[in-house]
């Protein structure tokens, strides 16, 4: 999962709080930036942005347009956490601080660009990278999430018979239905790979399994042809915090759920659990996550 430090701007331009608004605007224009750090005697008072200067008399001082201290975030935080803070607090910038040291600034624009690369343009769903990041965060908090893999049946055949545009239509259709289902049951939907989707529920499996028949009843129709899918479930069984590395555990959950969804294809109920997968056959899923932009 991409971290804040990879997206932040580390070139920081500062201004004195008693400098004029005119001077601040000139400084922003000269450096082609939209914000300045306001420092007085080495103490950070906040950030002044180009929006703060809009419509203000140029003779005024920066101190008069400063809107209180700016929120900060750790450089190791992931982009979705940063996005949540910005959304909830209604801010467009976060200071990146580690152990009291200012490392950089994260702007909404840079965040939006980076996040955009993590979303699938066809379905609008977040990709595998975000899925893994979300799982890791839940595991770090001591939550054992329930992961449901949704694998379309005979998707390759559908593409061959009806063409890729029909395949794309099927993917959009199921993405929309999975999103609605996930929202209804307080979960999140992801597109993991080509025809594999995933749902995360930050709750025990016992609270998720009763709703899966409802999911399996969903009908996906493309050019009057019904597209079926199979479900694989992993995680959501432990009450205590899982020991070990959250990243490795997240990978393990993804692998088990993916293999279970493959096993489910051969079953009439179209559902299999991770623990039913033969450990000997527990190999990496055949599907590969989307490569990131440019790779």
């Amino acid at each position: 999962m991409v971290q804040v430090k990879e997206v932040m701007t580390s070139i920081l331009v500062t201004i004195d709080p008693w400098s004029s608004v005119r001077e601040a605007a000139n400084l922003m224009a000269r450096h082609k930036i939209g914000s300045l750090l306001v420092l007085e005697d080495g103490t950070l008072l906040g950030v002044v942005t180009s929006r703060d200067l809009r419509g203000v008399h140029p003779n005024r001082v920066v101190m008069d347009v400063l809107r209180g201290p700016t929120l900060s975030i750790s450089p190791k935080a992931n982009l979705l956490e940063a996005h949540t803070i910005m959304q909830q607090q209604g801010v467009e910038r976060l200071l990146v601080v580690e152990e009291g040291r200012l490392l950089g600034i994260l702007t909404k624009r840079a965040l939006a660009f980076a996040l955009g690369q993590g979303f699938d343009p066809l379905t609008g769903l977040p990709r595998a990278d975000f899925l893994r990041g979300h799982l890791e965060r839940l595991l770090e908090k001591g939550i054992d999430p329930t992961l449901v893999f949704v694998d379309l049946d005979d998707f390759g055949l559908l593409n061959k018979e009806l063409g890729h545009t029909a395949g794309d239509q099927a993917l959009r259709e199921i993405a929309s239905k999975l999103t609605a289902f996930a929202q209804k049951h307080r979960g999140e939907a992801y597109r993991y790979a080509g025809d594999e989707f995933a749902l995360i529920f930050p709750r025990p499996r016992t609270q998720v399994l009763p709703h899966l028949p409802e999911l399996l009843k969903l009908t996906i129709l493309v050019e009057e042809k019904r597209v079926g899918f199979s479900l694989g479930v992993a995680g959501g069984r432990r009450r205590r915090k899982r020991l070990g590395n959250p990243r490795a555990t997240a990978d393990d959950l993804i692998r088990m759920a993916s293999l279970a969804s493959t096993l489910a294809k051969s079953r009439p109920e179209k559902l299999a659990l991770g623990e039913e997968v033969n450990p000997a056959s527990a190999q990496a899923p055949t599907a590969k996550p989307f490569p990131g932009p440019g790779g």
Binding site: G55, V56, H57, N59, R60, V61, M63, D64, V65
Partner: protein
């Protein structure tokens, strides 16, 4: 800068002077700072503190053409911070504009009357 030189030119520079005692501080008793005035509340407070340290207090106003009022603390001893802004904004309304800074003299006079019963 004019240079003294020999020429036939008729140009002259006249220098006029006028002087006046500068009041310290030049703020009178209250300063009403418009929302778009060339000086903001923080700058005005800094100016007051540098000329009359500790003598002025800043009261911020929301939803009015006036952003803040800088007021002499001695006046706040007889009029509460809740009453004074309302009074100033109401009475000085014709003068108030968000581009302006208005200085105000505030005179607080106590009127008292008592009846004394004679034996």
């Amino acid at each position: 800068m004019a240079k003294k030189r020999e020429s036939t030119s008729k140009k002259q520079l006249e220098v006029r002077l006028s002087g006046q005692v500068f009041e310290i501080p030049p703020l009178w008793d209250a300063l009403l700072i418009g929302r778009q005035a060339p000086i903001g509340p923080e700058a005005a407070k800094r100016m007051a503190d540098s000329m009359a340290p500790g003598q002025f207090e800043l009261i911020r106003i929301s939803g009015a053409p006036v952003e803040a009022i800088l007021i002499r603390k001695t006046i706040l001893q007889s009029l509460t911070p809740e009453v004074l802004p309302e009074l100033l904004l109401e009475e000085l309304a014709p003068l108030i504009h968000e581009d302006l800074v208005v200085r105000v003299q505030v005179e607080v006079i106590l009127h008292a009357a008592r009846t004394v019963r004679l034996e």
